[in-house]
């Protein structure tokens, strides 16, 4: 293993000065200090796994967003903005905001009042043990694998951007996350995620500011992109009339129904990685406000992710290429656009902060994966299936050890990916299999009292199998995409959208049919779990401006205005 700052990589994108290295080192010291400071406040299960359920709306909301704001997300979507133009913004607006508001106003009260520790925990209460087992095992398995894949990808990025040794990047970042999560549990993960959120903004915001200054503002930027590439790169909706009129090869049906109604709903409302942060809120009003605060900031994320990609289209002298065409010296890929823009505008100090932002993004995503895995393993797999008579102290110890073991499995996955690169594609595809059907099961469980345990279990299973079958079909015969996405002009991203749509519909249809054929649960058993049988708690007698529904309306109006402005 070589020291990262001593490693010399002739093709690396940026060179750190002494002050940059101090900034990166200070970041590691601070997150470890927070972990050690909080270690005495994670002695009970409620403290370790749920952060004592005492987070304010702001802390829970920023942590909720930060757990999703990984470095690969930042670099990947900046690259997508370079590749597809402003269309990539859909993943931040229609692909997030409606789902976050739905979570806040419709689903959060049920998660919160059921006092569940996890999303699989809710499925146990609503549908019984089989549905929980399917959901918990698939989630735990996929979470650590995804964490490992992201770890490898991040180490690879650090090697390309900074010339750091890949082993060093993996062990130092993973070791740091393991220490602060094992010591302070979810509270430590949340504290660091909020810190990382600020660092990401502080490190990345200067790129759009200086980029817009150099290009002469948004109007001039649009003109320059249209001149160098195409006018389609700067319109959010007007090119979505057909698959062939936009760089992404998708149409509005896929974006609105596949992405907006299914994938984003599935991710933001049922992926325990993000929902866990909201469950740690101190009261029902904070639990409802947290996703709304997250949505407000999510709408602004394109400023530091999409805009740098668009600026790259206008100001970078070279043309970036896809991963397949990379390899020659001096040839950069779409995913390099954010580091290239950092290197373009950020001098000593600022560069260190920008690199810290990328590392912080990676670590917040990994801490999110690890803390969610720990909770689901301990409460939804170990306790019900292995050892159900342990003390609270026993489960806290199990949580600490699971944190370390989860990180070690992730590291193992990272090395496996290093040997067999194709594993990365399979793992990323596997993760998408569960999201859409899980949303179908959870939302039917919450909104339809007639849904039964067998209905929920078979719906979840059939929806997941439908998703896997379509993926395998297109993998074996790429021309099958025309049938999955209903168009011969459809491209890869359209497959994800339509695959989610069909698997959701399969899940819903199977759940309904099986539920109608099986014995319903008594109403009394569903109190607190289903709409219509539950008195949804009120936020109290507070002024209008303190009500979640008011702020959800404000966010909704801004969301509509942004979509119309960038139409």
């Amino acid at each position: 293993m070589t020291l990262p700052f001593a490693a010399v990589e002739p093709t690396r994108l940026v060179h750190l000065s002494t002050v940059d290295v101090i900034i990166v080192a200070f970041y590691f010291a601070l997150v470890l200090a927070i972990g050690f400071y909080l270690r005495g406040r994670a002695n009970t299960g409620e403290d370790f796994f749920m952060a004592g359920r005492e987070m304010t709306a702001w802390v829970a909301g920023l942590s909720f967003l930060s757990a999703n704001l990984g470095a690969l997300e930042l670099m990947g979507w900046a690259g997508s903005a370079y590749q597809y133009g402003i269309l990539a913004t859909h993943w931040y607006w229609i692909g997030a905001i409606p789902a976050m508001l739905f979570l806040a106003l419709v689903m959060m009260p049920f998660y919160y009042i059921s006092k569940t520790h996890s999303v699989p925990g809710y499925l146990k209460l609503r549908f019984g043990e089989p549905a929980r087992a399917v959901s918990a095992v698939s989630f735990a398995f996929m979470t650590v694998l995804m964490s490992g894949v992201n770890m490898f990808a991040m180490a690879k990025v650090m090697q390309i951007v900074l010339g750091w040794d890949i082993n060093f990047s993996i062990w130092v970042s993973a070791g740091t996350v393991a220490i602060y999560v094992a010591l302070g549990g979810l509270r430590s993960a949340i504290f660091n995620e909020v810190l990382q959120f600020f660092l990401i903004w502080a490190g990345a915001l200067l790129i759009p500011i200086l980029g817009l200054y150099q290009t002469g503002g948004w109007s001039n930027l649009k003109v320059q992109i249209a001149h160098r590439f195409s006018e389609q790169y700067v319109h959010l909706w007007s090119g979505l009339g057909s698959f062939s009129h936009n760089p992404m090869g998708i149409n509005w049906v896929g974006i609105v129904f596949g992405l907006g109604a299914i994938i984003s709903m599935g991710y933001w409302t049922t992926d325990f990685l993000v929902v866990q942060r909201i469950l740690a809120a101190k009261d029902i009003r904070s639990a409802e406000m947290a996703p709304i605060i997250g949505a407000g900031f999510k709408m602004m994320v394109p400023l530091i992710v999409i805009l740098p990609g668009l600026l790259g289209l206008a100001v970078l002298p070279m043309k970036l290429v896809g991963q397949n065409a990379a390899g020659a010296p001096g040839v950069y890929t779409y995913n390099d656009v954010l580091p290239l823009m950092l290197a373009r505008y950020c001098g000593p100090g600022l560069l260190g902060l920008g690199i810290t932002a990328l590392i912080a993004g990676f670590m917040s995503g990994m801490a999110g994966n690890v803390s969610a895995f720990t909770t689901v393993w301990t409460y939804d797999i170990y306790r019900p299936l292995v050892h159900n008579k342990g003390s609270d102290h026993h489960y806290v110890n199990m949580g600490r050890w699971t944190t370390v073991i989860g990180v070690l499995i992730s590291i193992g996955t990272a090395y496996l990916v290093m040997q067999f690169a194709s594993i990365m594609d399979y793992v990323q595809a596997l993760f998408s299999f569960f999201i859409a059907p899980l949303f179908g099961t959870v939302v039917l469980g919450m909104l339809w009292k007639r849904a039964t345990g067998p209905g929920g279990f078979w719906g979840l299973l059939c929806g997941t199998l439908c998703s896997i079958s379509m993926w395998a079909w297109v993998k074996a015969d790429p021309s099958a995409l025309r049938y999955v996405a209903l168009s011969p002009n459809a491209k890869a991203l359209a497959q994800d959208m339509y695959q989610a749509l069909w698997s959701f519909l399969t899940c819903v249809i199977v759940t309904v049919v099986v539920s109608l054929a099986t014995k319903p649960k008594a109403d009394a058993e569903l109190t607190g779990l289903v709409y219509g049988l539950t008195e949804v708690p009120k936020v109290g007698n507070v002024p209008l401006y303190q009500k979640p529904v008011f702020w959800a309306g404000v966010v909704g109006i801004v969301f509509l205005a942004l979509n119309i402005y960038f139409w």
């Binding site: 002050v19 200070f26 970041y27 406040r41 504290f191 810190l195 200086l210 290197a343 505008y345 000593p348």
Partner: protein, 69 residues
């Protein structure tokens, strides 16, 4: 318990001071061939200053002494 906002203040303050220092040094001793675009704006000096001010405000308003009182 120390507020999370205090930790954020510490982080912004220290990073701000380091970046501000680097910016002032570059202002006094400008490189012969600047490697970044818009070097003449001295972004690290004013951005470091902004972070320092915000960090100092967070440290003050969320200091353990004030939040305990």
């Amino acid at each position: 318990m120390i507020s999370i906002w205090f930790f954020i203040g510490i982080s912004l303050l220290v990073n701000g001071l380091l970046i501000l220092g680097a910016g002032i040094y570059e202002y006094i001793h400008p490189p012969a061939h600047p490697t970044v675009e818009l070097f003449q704006l001295h972004a690290n000096a004013w951005w470091g200053g902004v972070l320092t001010v915000i960090g100092a405000m967070y440290c003050y308003f969320f200091s353990p002494k004030r939040t305990r009182a």
